[in-house]
C-alpha cells in the first residue's frame, strides 16, 4: 500500500497563492476559507542578515490523526494509503475535529454545514493525476508522491535531502507534509507555525469525561439489578403464581 506525502520546497516558493486559487477552484471552497494557503513568517534577524519564509499550510494526513479519534460519527477516517478522508454523507458538522487538528487544517463549510479539508486531491489521485496545488505551482516547489516507492522523487527528497516535518516533542502525530529549505528558514517556520495540542470543545470533553462514564454506569447498574432479579426468578423455578 502506498503512503502519500507532499514535499514543499520553501526555497522555491514565491508566495504567489496560485496553489490556493487552484485548490479553491478545484474543490469549490467557500470564500474566506481555504484547504491550503500560503502564509509568511515574520521577518527575523538584523539587516543585512534578515530571514523570512513563506509557509504553505494544508492537511498533513497524519500517521496518528487526532481528528479521527475526535470524530464521533466516523465521517473522518484514515485510508490504507494514509490519506485522511471526510465522508460528507456521514459528517454531522459538530466541529470536534476542527478543534482536534493541531494544524488548524479543517473548517466547517458554511454552505454545506459540514467539515472540509485538504485530502491530497483524492479524486485526482484516484485517476492517476497529481493534486491541483502541485500541478499549478508556478515555481515547481511542490512534489507529490508515494513514500513507500524507494526510487521515487518524494522518497529521495524526504530521506535523501532531509526534508523536515512540522512536529514538536509535545505534538508528534506523524504529519506527511514535508518542507525543504535552509536550516535557518525551517527553524523560523517551525517557531512561527508550531502545531498546537489537540483539544476538544467543551461538549466533546464533557461527553468523553462525564456523560459517557455516567451513562455506562447507569445502564450497567440497571442491567446488573435486573440480572440479579432474573437469576432469583430462575432459582425459584417456574411455578403457577396466584394470578
Amino acid at each position: 500500500m502506498a503512503r502519500y506525502a507532499i514535499v514543499t520546497d520553501l526555497r522555491r516558493c514565491v508566495g504567489c497563492q496560485a496553489c490556493t486559487v487552484a485548490c479553491n477552484a478545484e474543490w469549490d471552497v467557500p470564500a474566506g476559507q481555504a484547504r491550503t494557503h500560503v502564509r509568511a513568517t515574520p521577518l527575523e534577524g538584523a539587516f543585512p542578515r534578515l530571514v523570512q519564509s513563506p509557509f504553505v499550510a494544508q492537511c498533513n494526513q497524519c500517521d496518528r490523526p487526532p481528528c479521527v479519534e475526535a470524530c464521533p460519527s466516523g465521517a473522518t477516517a484514515q485510508r490504507d494509503d494514509g490519506i485522511v478522508s471526510v465522508d460528507r454523507a456521514v459528517c454531522i458538522g459538530c466541529g470536534f475535529c476542527v478543534e482536534a487538528c493541531p494544524y488548524d487544517a479543517r473548517f466547517i463549510d458554511p454552505r454545506r454545514r459540514k467539515v472540509d479539508k485538504c485530502d491530497f486531491c483524492l479524486e485526482r489521485v484516484a485517476h492517476g493525476e497529481q493534486p491541483a496545488c502541485v500541478t499549478t505551482c508556478t515555481a515547481h516547489a511542490k512534489y507529490f508522491g508515494d513514500l513507500e516507492q524507494r526510487d521515487g522523487q518524494v522518497f529521495e527528497l524526504v530521506y535523501g535531502r532531509g526534508a523536515r516535518r512540522l512536529e514538536t516533542p509535545a505534538v508528534a502525530v506523524g504529519p506527511n507534509v514535508y518542507y525543504l529549505g535552509t536550516a535557518q528558514q525551517l527553524d523560523l517556520v517551525q517557531k512561527s507555525f508550531p502545531p498546537r495540542e489537540p483539544r476538544l470543545p467543551a461538549a466533546g470533553e464533557g461527553w468523553r469525561r462525564v456523560v459517557r462514564p455516567l451513562v455506562l454506569a447507569a445502564v450497567g447498574a440497571t442491567f446488573l439489578g435486573q440480572a440479579v432479579a432474573f437469576f432469583n426468578q430462575l432459582a425459584k423455578g417456574e411455578k403457577d403464581f396466584e394470578d
Binding site: V68, E69, A70, C71, P72, S73, G74, A75, D87, A89, V90, I92, G93, C94, G95, F96, V98, I108, R113, K114, P201, A203, G204, G206, W207, R208, V211, R212, L214, V215, L216, A218, V219, A221, T222, F223, G225, Q226, V228, A229, F230, N232, Q233, E238, F241, E242, D243
Partner: protein, 274 residues
C-alpha cells in the same frame, strides 16, 4: 348491587370469585396505543442498533468495535447507516406528531397526563415495597395502584420528558441546525437522553416480558385486555373505578325503568369476604 358495596381496599377472594374474575376481561389499551407501542418498540430496537454503530470514536462510543463494524457491514457503508438512522428517526417523529396532534384529546390529555405520570402517596410506598420484594427482603402486600403502577409512571415520566430532547437534538444533528457548537451539544444530549431511557428500558422490558407476576401486562399490549383478577390484584384502584362506573350505569338503567343488567362479575363486597 350498590356502588358503596365495592370494597375500599383489596380483600381476599374466594376460589369461585377468583375463577370467575379470571374469565372476565377489562379493556386496558386501545388499539391505537397497542399499535403505537409496537411501532415505537421496533423503532427503538433499530435506532439503538444503528445509533450504537454510528459512534466509532473510542472516546465516545458505547458499543464494542466489533458491533460497530458488524452493523456497518450489514448496511454496506456508514453513509447508508446514518441515512437509515436519520430517516427512521424522522418517521418516528412524524408518527408521534400525528399522535400528539390528533390523539391529544383522546389519549394525551385523558390518559397520559391524568393517569400515567402523577404519583400519589400509594405510588411512592409501592416503589419501596416493590423493590424490597424483588430483592427478596419483604413479603408486605403492595399498596393498591391505579391503571398504571408507580414503576410504569416513573418510566413514563422519564420517557415523556426525554423524548422531546431526543427528537430535537436528532433534528439539530440531521440538518446541522444552529451551527457547529449547537450540533456538538446536540450529540452529547442525544447520547445522554437515550442512555437514561435505555437504563429504564432494561427494567421496563424485564418487568413487562420476563417477570412472572406481570405476565398479563405483557399480553395486554397485544390483546389490549387484562383479566379482571389481574386488575384486581395489581391495579385495584383502577379495577374499583371500572366497577363503580359499571354499577352506576346499571343503576341509571334501573332508574329509567329498564331491567338493570348485572355487571359480568360483581366484585366481592365487604360483607361477603371469602
Amino acid at each position: 348491587m350498590r356502588t358503596d358495596a365495592l370494597p375500599l381496599e383489596p380483600v381476599p377472594l374466594s376460589v369461585e370469585q377468583a375463577e370467575s374474575m379470571l374469565q372476565s376481561h377489562l379493556k386496558k389499551h386501545q388499539v391505537a396505543i397497542v399499535l403505537l407501542h409496537w411501532f415505537n418498540a421496533s423503532v427503538w430496537g433499530l435506532e439503538l442498533l444503528t445509533g450504537l454503530a454510528l459512534i466509532t470514536s473510542p472516546w465516545f462510543r458505547f458499543a464494542p468495535a466489533w458491533l460497530v463494524e458488524m452493523v456497518e457491514g450489514l448496511f454496506g457503508s456508514r453513509a447508508n447507516l446514518i441515512r437509515f438512522h436519520v430517516n427512521l428517526g424522522l418517521l418516528w417523529i412524524f408518527v408521534f406528531l400525528v399522535y400528539g396532534v390528533f390523539g391529544f384529546r383522546t389519549f394525551l390529555a385523558r390518559e397520559v397526563l391524568q393517569k400515567e405520570i402523577g404519583l400519589d402517596r400509594d405510588d411512592w410506598r409501592w416503589l419501596i415495597v416493590r423493590t424490597l420484594r424483588i430483592l427478596g427482603r419483604s413479603q408486605e402486600p403492595l399498596p393498591p395502584q391505579g391503571v398504571y403502577n408507580a414503576g410504569q409512571k416513573l418510566f413514563a415520566l422519564a420517557v415523556y420528558s426525554l423524548l422531546p430532547v431526543i427528537m430535537l437534538t436528532g433534528l439539530v444533528m440531521a440538518f446541522q441546525l444552529f451551527g457547529p457548537a449547537a450540533v456538538g451539544w446536540a450529540v452529547v444530549l442525544h447520547f445522554a437522553a437515550v442512555g437514561l431511557v435505555v437504563a429504564g428500558l432494561l427494567i421496563h422490558v424485564y418487568m413487562g416480558a420476563v417477570f412472572p407476576e406481570e405476565k398479563p401486562a405483557f399480553f395486554s399490549m397485544i390483546t389490549g385486555e387484562v383479566n379482571e383478577h389481574y386488575a384486581y390484584r395489581h391495579h385495584f384502584k383502577w379495577w374499583r373505578e371500572v366497577k363503580q362506573a359499571e354499577l352506576e350505569w346499571a343503576e341509571r338503567q334501573g332508574a329509567e325503568g329498564r331491567p338493570a343488567e348485572t355487571p359480568s362479575s360483581p366484585g366481592p363486597g365487604p360483607t361477603s369476604p371469602a
